[in-house]
Symmetry: C2
């Protein structure tokens, strides 16, 4: 009978691993890639005996790094010591971009899958799943009459929400162009960051509502009735006012369906890039709705070719928003971000109006690394 | 200002696509792969001008298919007409297994990522997101005192659950070896199948609870405090009785936290392979708990080296389970499944005991294609 069991196991293993090609084993040994060494250097490996050139691309690398091949056909590359962060990477084998076959952890950013790894010992400890109470993450559909559509939304509820009775504040968290309701969960590591900040007592327990800011879409690629189509970068209604106009549908859904503090002091809105743009314009278009606003590397100015009531009186509505009172208006951008000048101009405008805000300038540019850092800075300031 | 906006867009695009290598464009045209042609043949393409040999591997292919290279370095292969299904595939470029860089849809099965595509017009219409009311899917953590651990569980609640007051029946749905609480959602397409069957009136609205059957794990790979480790195939406590013994923790969590029909007629349990084994042994170990049992390609016999009260009196508890009444005991297996003989022997035993069951024999073997089909057969029979 023991024999039977072993043969079952082997059978199951063969069935399950039929698509695992031979490169998972190299010289009888399993290939470890990426290997995070004890000194926080990282070794990448790929078994490609016929490869003429294998390079490493990563979000910490300018261009690519050439990997070295040994006499067994195993390519490898070891980095310098890497600071704590979540990194993404891929290989380029003779000009073909490939995912590391030995790393199953991959996130989609817009229309590209990349592998990820984490170097702990700093901010990335907050991007990690730790032994703390975990919130729940629900993918749910709501009706948007303004878009005549059912739409998908990702909702984080903090640990204790389901079993409790108290009302919670809500952070509406918006993605950038090409993103969707999955973006902040994937490379944004929102549920991990919130779990950890709340467990450390650094952030108030809150609900986080991650909407899809492409109002022409029902849902993220692969999750809507258009099926498994290749994701489009530019969609109808991109930054044309429709997102702002119909945002009330999201708020109504959340406040009708969750135990929330349904007033201004219980609402925050923040977003990255296009989501920062949406946060700027939504918060002034509904000028007495949000006590907390976060603009992470935001785009600022509307398209000149767009006609929308949303953009009719930007300056007037900004002044009205400020007059109504905003507890925190937080702007963050990296020094090398291509939107730096736009943000500088916007700050000058706010200064001219006497509108108060907090400005956070970081190193770097338009990156997930910065947006995660901004979350860690921003979230503890909310609902205090 | 228009110029500024355009430059912003370009900047965002560059930032977002920095990792997309040149192969996404070929001769100025975007590469479409896979392309599902109007006759349901499928064309795969990969730009690999330096590649010496590119092959296609897929779950409908025995071995691999060799792709052809044109003078521009674009490799392609077109299949025969393919029946409706969800398929998975990858490329092998000079012996390196790679994901299709032009297809962002990839699912992890155990320790391997593969691309997926869908051919509609048959059962796969049920695997697709359609314009029907959608249930919610929540990743949540529960306490398992029996495992001294917080553990992650995936819960599908049907459309209308949150806004209603009625109580729902529950299907506990268990994965196979190497799987986890994500398996039935990924290649199993559970939320799509349930949404569609319920919308068509073919299945009763029900809650589906997808547990993690590796009781040594908190959660699926990447979702637990061990971090982004390479998934292990064989884990402690695999099929040693601990899953069965501690399953009461899951039931208690569900019945304490959801509006459910908390009695036998409101409970079903089903699973594939190791999950079929778990369903068999859980349902007889708690012999008056489930009115519906589904064994999909199940493993049957416990390990001989295991000492567990769960396996003390298998025959006696099976007879007790039958005597207590089971509305549906459903067994399904493919003709070429490596577990076929085990299942035949088990059926003979049940026949000998006079225990009634329904037997469904399909073509094929130990595959997700069969398990999705079994779901479509099984779920409409529940809670009637």
């Amino acid at each position: 009978m023991k024999k039977t069991f072993v043969s079952i196991l082997i059978g199951i293993m063969l069935a399950s691993t039929q698509l695992c090609a031979q490169q998972a084993l190299w010289g009888g040994q399993e290939i470890k890639s990426p290997e995070i060494n004890s000194d926080n250097t990282v070794t990448f490996r790929l078994y490609a005996p016929k490869g003429g050139e294998v390079k490493l691309a990563g979000d910490w690398i300018q261009g690519t790094e050439v990997m070295a091949k040994n006499d067994k056909g195993l390519w490898s590359y070891t980095t310098a010591v890497m600071p704590s962060n979540l990194y993404s990477y891929s290989f380029i084998v003779d000009d073909v971009r490939v995912i590391d076959p030995n790393n199953v952890y991959a996130d989609r950013d817009v229309a590209t899958l990349s592998n990820i790894f984490i170097i702990k010992g700093g901010n990335a400890d907050l991007y990690s799943v730790n032994k703390v109470p975990h919130g729940s993450v629900t993918r749910r559909w709501y009706e948007s009459p303004g878009n005549e559509m059912s739409r998908r939304v990702t909702i984080y509820t903090p640990a204790g929400y389901e079993s409790g009775k108290e009302k919670y504040p809500v952070l509406y968290l918006l993605h950038g162009m090409g993103g969707d309701e999955e973006a902040w969960m994937a490379l944004g590591r929102t549920s991990q960051i919130l779990d950890n900040l709340i467990a450390e007592g650094k952030a108030k327990p809150m609900i986080v509502v991650m909407t899809n800011g492409n109002v022409a879409q029902e849902a993220a690629p692969g999750e809507s009735s258009i099926g498994l189509q290749k994701p489009n970068f530019m969609l109808p209604h991109t930054m044309d006012g429709k997102m702002e106009e119909t945002f009330k549908d999201v708020i109504k859904f959340v406040e009708d369906n969750y135990r929330v503090i349904a007033d201004k002091q219980g609402r925050a809105i923040a977003g990255l890039s296009m989501g920062g743009y949406h946060s700027l314009h939504i918060s002034r278009y509904y000028p007495n709705t949000f006590d907390y606003v976060g603009l992470f590397s935001p785009a600022i100015s509307p398209r000149e070719d767009v006609e929308s009531p949303v953009y009719k009186d930007i300056d007037g509505s900004l002044k009205a928003q400020y007059k109504n009172g905003v507890k925190l208006y937080w702007i963050a951008i990296g020094k090398t971000d291509f939107l730096y000048k736009q943000v500088t101009d916007y700050r000058q405008k706010l200064d001219g109006f006497g509108i108060k805000y907090i400005y956070h300038e970081s190193e770097g540019g338009h990156t997930w690394s910065n947006w995660r850092d901004y979350m860690i800075e921003f979230v503890p300031q909310l609902f205090k």
